[in-house]
Point group: C2
């Protein structure tokens, strides 16, 4: 199979910036969230998804897919969060194997406490450094990338 198509300068820089931005931003978010609310980013995302869902509950598998983690990874996190009282498990009536993760009042409160600070970080380092048109173009580009990766 033939020659490798290397990246040109723009492409190279884009790829590098994509990796760097992702890593640094994640780092900041992780720090901020842990310091200010005692949550990891995954846990925060779990709370977000649950609070947005009907009745504040979701099946484990769906939640795992939503927060982009593995099944076993989610099992671990939900166990932690259950110990912390942010979430509880409820078994599914229709399917005995099924499990719902349910947001508790404490969980919802924690999310509400954490959201503003989290938002500030996302704004400060991502959204607010971009112009409206950059936001639009990047939104479309990234959606395309997600599509290419089979993210629905």
């Amino acid at each position: 199979m033939g020659d490798t198509k290397w990246l040109n300068d723009d492409e190279m820089v884009l790829w590098q910036a994509f990796l760097t931005a992702g890593a640094l931003l994640d780092r900041r978010i992780e720090e901020q969230l842990k310091a200010e609310s005692g949550l990891s980013h995954v846990q925060y995302e779990v709370l977000v998804r649950l609070s947005a869902a009907e009745g504040g509950e979701l099946r484990m598998s769906e939640l795992a897919a939503d927060v982009l983690t593995t099944k076993s990874g989610l099992t671990y996190q939900i166990t932690q969060m259950e110990k912390a009282g942010l979430v509880r498990r409820r078994s599914c009536a229709a399917d005995v194997r099924g499990v719902y993760a349910v947001l508790t009042d404490k969980g919802r409160a924690r999310l509400e406490g954490a959201a503003p600070g989290h938002l500030r970080v996302v704004r400060a380092h991502l959204i607010d450094v971009l112009s409206d048109s950059q936001v639009r173009v990047m939104r479309e580009g990234l959606q395309e990338v997600v599509r290419a990766l089979g993210g629905e």
Copy 2:
């Protein structure tokens, strides 16, 4: 400290797509690299940086910064890679505390073997799904984000 400035639709979608694209792409890369070359993404990046450096060697701290990992994280990886013969350590003449990570021939060969496959994944899921103008805008936008995060 007043009200929280929430994200509008475009911003929300951008942020979500950014997270999703990053996570999914990383997953693909990790799989592909491990399957085809027995490397993790971090290890691949280490090889890339070393091969690009003068004499194929870099100080541990600089390398850690380059590949966006922590000092202890790099120590661990370099130890693994040293066992695999991809890299070796050399102590620094000027500063007794200093350590260089040095690329071995085997390491360079491994990188050369891995690069084409890796490139293909990056192209297939990121670069080639974007138009030239999207690449330019996203490059600039992401560089701005990196700057905002203090990535030099």
